[in-house]
């Protein structure tokens, strides 16, 4: 099934998304990788406010290439999500995130947090950064500029293609997909 999502996405539409569904995402979202996550978690642990309000927002795990002159951004595909696993349950619980975009499977604790707080994990195609960069029309650094490509950016995305990887019921395409296709051979 194909959904068009406009951020902010309301709770009923989040619940309607099922693992395996294709989506096109439009709206503003934030980027963060490992180093930015560490800083966000340090703020949460010391009871300080986050530099961006993530309530109801989407987070995209990417570290883009620098834009060529006249372009919004360079190549900007997803990075491996599992590196963020140790931060994600707390970040979801404390920030009210509604969606996360990355690639690859997540730990059980992340899946439990997604279910408990009504957040969806999407997978974008890794290694397709040029194509995905074309769906990003604006980019600006919000904070942590010193981290270079690991800074937090605000992006405007239009019809950004992704697949629902783990839905709010905890159904997980990284388990169900290989389960369905495992043991089958290619036809010659």
């Amino acid at each position: 099934m194909m959904h068009s999502l406009r951020i902010p996405v309301d709770a009923s539409q989040i619940v309607s998304l099922a693992s395996g569904d294709q989506v096109l995402i439009t709206g503003r979202l934030y980027t963060a990788r490992d180093a930015a996550h560490q800083r966000l978690i340090d703020l949460i642990d010391s009871n300080k406010p986050l530099p961006v309000d993530l309530a109801g927002q989407f987070l995209y795990y990417t570290g883009p290439t620098p834009p060529r002159p006249g372009m919004a951004i360079g190549s900007a595909g997803p990075t491996t999500s599992s590196r963020m696993d140790r931060y994600t349950p707390k970040l979801i619980a404390e920030s009210g995130l509604r969606g996360i975009i990355g690639k690859g499977n997540r730990e059980t604790a992340v899946i439990e947090a997604l279910k408990r707080h009504g957040c969806v994990y999407f997978a974008a195609t890794g290694g397709a950064g040029a194509l995905l960069g074309k769906h990003i029309t604006e980019a600006r650094v919000v904070c942590y500029e010193d981290l270079g490509p690991e800074a937090i950016y605000e992006l405007n995305v239009v019809d950004f293609p992704a697949v629902v990887a783990i839905d709010v019921r905890g159904r997980n395409i990284y388990v169900d997909g290989p389960g369905e296709w495992g043991g089958r051979k290619q036809e010659k």
Partner: protein
């Protein structure tokens, strides 16, 4: 004796960095097209079509194929009749890398200290450089732009000689299966067998330089490549690990003699955005 000027190497490496980042090699693109023809899972087909379209966009718009423009891993072959004037070869390669990543709008992805500071060097240096000394006056430089997602799924196991072929197959298939979607499948599986722990790891990396669809010259290893590929492609991981029939485009094995007590096996995976470029000077 041939003389190659320092600055000529700098310029060549600078161009090589951009070429590797933006132009997917034809054999890899052929592999992706064959994968698309063989794949039946809807999510797998969607991902593969993204990968194929992405290669065209990258080539025509000079955008990097992937935002992770990688660790710059150089394989350099230097003839005994070739000398470099004006500086050290390694310095020229690093200067070319610095200029290529900065001027080519590639992402600097290297931190200077791996554990404590982890501060970005901002120009993707230092490069990783492997040298081979050969007869003649040639100077050939190959750049493998190696992404972190696939490199993080590398594995080394010191098998017992008695583990034999079955042990090798089981270890390689287990490594690819466990990696799931992290290394951006369909992957190219580099396998190094023999030598010492360090040799096996380098062999596995070197195996990634071979053309997709090429085979080991020894029929026994060729059959082993084909056997591992069949097993890997029945794990069901599929493109991006979302489920499907094509988990790997190829398995490449490289070998070296080893100690009577040892059977080292290393696995180095490359993502479907398997980027490399070569220049001869």
């Amino acid at each position: 004796m041939k003389t190659v000027a320092f600055n000529r190497i700098v310029d060549a490496v600078r161009d090589l960095c951009v070429r590797a980042a933006c132009d997917l090699p034809a054999d890899v693109l052929d592999g992706l097209n064959n994968a698309f023809a063989a794949e039946r899972s809807p999510q797998g087909r969607a991902a593969l079509s993204h990968c194929i379209d992405n290669a065209a966009i990258a080539a025509t718009e000079r955008m990097p194929i992937c935002q992770d423009t990688g660790t710059a891993v150089f394989f350099v072959t230097v003839g005994s009749e070739c000398r470099i004037s004006g500086g050290l070869l390694g310095d020229a390669i690093n200067e070319g890398c610095r200029q290529g990543y900065r001027r080519g709008f590639l992402r600097p992805s290297i931190v200077g200290d791996p554990l404590f500071d982890r501060k970005n060097t901002d120009d993707n240096t230092p490069a990783v450089i492997h040298y081979d000394l050969v007869h003649g006056d040639s100077l050939t430089i190959t750049l493998l732009s190696k992404g972190g997602g696939s490199e993080n799924m590398s594995a080394l196991r010191m098998l017992k000689p008695a583990d034999g072929k079955e042990g090798v197959v089981a270890f390689v298939v287990e490594t690819v299966a466990k990696a799931g979607g992290n290394p951006c499948p369909p992957v190219i599986v580099g396998v190094g067998i023999g030598g010492t722990a360090d040799t096996a790891s380098l062999l596995a990396k070197r195996a990634l330089l071979r053309n997709v669809g090429s085979h080991h010259h020894d029929a026994r290893f060729r059959e082993l490549e084909e056997e591992i590929l069949r097993h890997v492609n029945t794990t069901g991981n599929g493109p991006q690990g979302l489920g499907g029939l094509v988990t790997a485009l190829a398995v490449h094995i490289e070998t070296f003699p080893c100690h009577i007590a040892s059977l080292p096996v290393a696995v180095n995976l490359n993502c479907h955005a398997a980027r490399q470029a070569t220049v001869e000077l």
